[in-house]
Symmetry: C2
Subunit: 109 residues, 2 copies
């Protein structure tokens, strides 16, 4: 197959570099199965670490590591349980998730 329009190949070598650093960083955070699984789990409401570790079949410290990265990205929030504060419950930070999806939309429209 061949492109149709331009009669002569006029190269454009002065195109400015698009700023995609934030979008790529966002995608990189979602690009791991464990982190993606965590976000999917949290769509149905808050969960504690051990619940997510069991659902994903991963070790707790591994899940905790990924949660730390999601926290640094601002996509989730942690809060201790009201009755037994040993349990740490995580929930999605909805505005940040919406903003993240917007950034990805700026790549894929």
């Amino acid at each position: 197959m061949r492109t149709e329009l331009p009669v002569l190949p006029e190269l454009r070598l002065d195109i400015p570099r698009p700023d995609v650093a934030e979008a790529a960083a966002t995608a990189a955070v979602l690009g791991d199965p464990v982190r993606a699984g965590i976000l999917a789990l949290l769509r149905s409401g808050p969960h504690c670490v051990c619940e997510m570790a069991a659902a994903l079949g991963e070790r707790q410290n591994n899940v905790s590591n990924h949660l730390a990265r999601l926290r640094r990205a601002g996509l989730v929030r942690a809060s201790r349980h009201m009755v037994d504060a040993r349990w740490v419950y995580y929930e999605r930070a909805e505005p940040a998730c919406a903003a993240a999806l917007d950034r990805l939309g700026s790549l894929l429209r």
Copy 2:
């Protein structure tokens, strides 16, 4: 801060593992600055490899490598120029891009 509702921490350890393999793979493809830059560039229409390499400040073979991965993911299509078939022009595969954004939306709502 503490979560409010549950009086006793009743753990749910039987949550099924969500299927996020495709969404995570899609995000991983977008998670590189060069690939994200390519997709951003192609939003304004088709471009050949050397144009994108110049705009991104990357070497041609490196850009070509990333294009191959985007091609394998189905996000872009390649076609040779009508007049001078040495130039390979790339354009976005819109349906696949829309599907990719849908998969990411299934994680972020």
